[in-house]
């Protein structure tokens, strides 16, 4: 009985789970929090889905590189570089 009560006390609800996700994704959660979150994720499809969606958002941002430079922009900067060299 005591063990069951203790486990219940230690479990977290979804709201707590999502609030731990920022630290989790950065790998900076204290071990106890990480264990609690992972235990919740193992049982909660909603929070698992939310985390999967956040990971997709991160990966999409990782692909969101700005457009390549026009050659003209590079030439302009090279001109600045050459002026500086002559100074």
């Amino acid at each position: 009985m005591v063990v069951i009560w203790w486990k219940k006390r230690r479990g977290i609800v979804c709201e707590q789970a999502v609030r731990l996700m920022a630290g989790y994704l950065d790998g900076v959660l204290p071990e106890a929090d990480r264990a609690r979150l992972e235990a919740h994720l193992a049982e909660c499809p909603h929070c698992s889905e939310h985390l999967a969606q956040l990971r997709i958002a991160i990966s999409a941002a990782g692909h969101a590189q700005p457009d390549d430079l026009p050659e003209k922009a590079i030439d302009d900067l090279v001109a600045v570089f050459r002026r500086w060299q002559r100074e």
Binding site: V13, M21, D26, I56, A60, H63, L69
Partner: protein, 194 residues
């Protein structure tokens, strides 16, 4: 070529090293500068000043952070001292999860599952384009953290230092930005791809 070789060549006045740095970093620097000064033309000037400062200061680069972080630090300092507009501040009640949970802490509405429908190609093509489109609408501070962390891939501690914010604050801003992006992707999934 690693950071030290590049800097060594830059110190020696090597134009090729300069061009290679410009190709690598100019687009990202420009986008970040624009998010700070709020104007493309001013951003271009700020980035040009930054390159001059990088060339002149190459002797001072000690390699304690990556060359990329060092260049971005110079840019942020210049852009901030140039910024002429009011910074768009965070809305006070900008909790990414406002209204998402009921009083027991359970999801008020279960998240719509869509992650399994997304493959790498959608992420790399459509979603990445969407991120670039919605980025300018994020509050400035969120935009800057997201650009540096998730787009440019700089480490958390270096981003906090270069933006002069605490590590915790950096993480909160990043998380809010990611949540906004996630919402935009979800809307897109609800439309075109579902």
């Amino acid at each position: 070529m690693d950071d030290h070789q590049l800097v060594e060549r830059l110190r020696g006045g090597d134009e090729g090293a300069f061009v290679s740095l410009v190709r690598q970093h100019q687009p990202g620097l420009l986008r970040l500068a624009e998010s700070i000064v709020g104007n493309r033309a001013v951003a271009e000037e700020v980035v040009q000043d930054t390159w001059l400062a990088v060339c002149k200061g190459a002797d001072a680069f000690e390699g304690r952070s990556s060359l990329k972080t060092w260049i971005y630090t110079i840019l942020v300092n210049r852009a901030r001292s140039t910024a002429t507009r009011e910074r768009r501040s965070e809305p006070v009640d900008n909790d990414a999860y406002h209204g998402c949970f009921d009083s027991s802490g359970a999801w008020a509405t279960a998240p719509v599952p869509w992650s399994e429908k997304v493959d790498d190609e959608i992420v790399a093509r459509q979603f990445a384009k969407l991120v670039s489109q919605v980025l300018p609408d994020l509050p400035d501070a969120q935009q800057q953290v997201l650009l540096l962390r998730d787009v440019e891939g700089l480490p958390a501690a270096e981003v906090a230092t270069l933006l002069s914010i605490s590590d915790g604050n950096q993480r909160v801003l990043l998380h809010r930005a990611r949540c906004s992006i996630r919402r935009h992707l979800e809307n897109a999934m609800g439309g075109e791809w579902s």
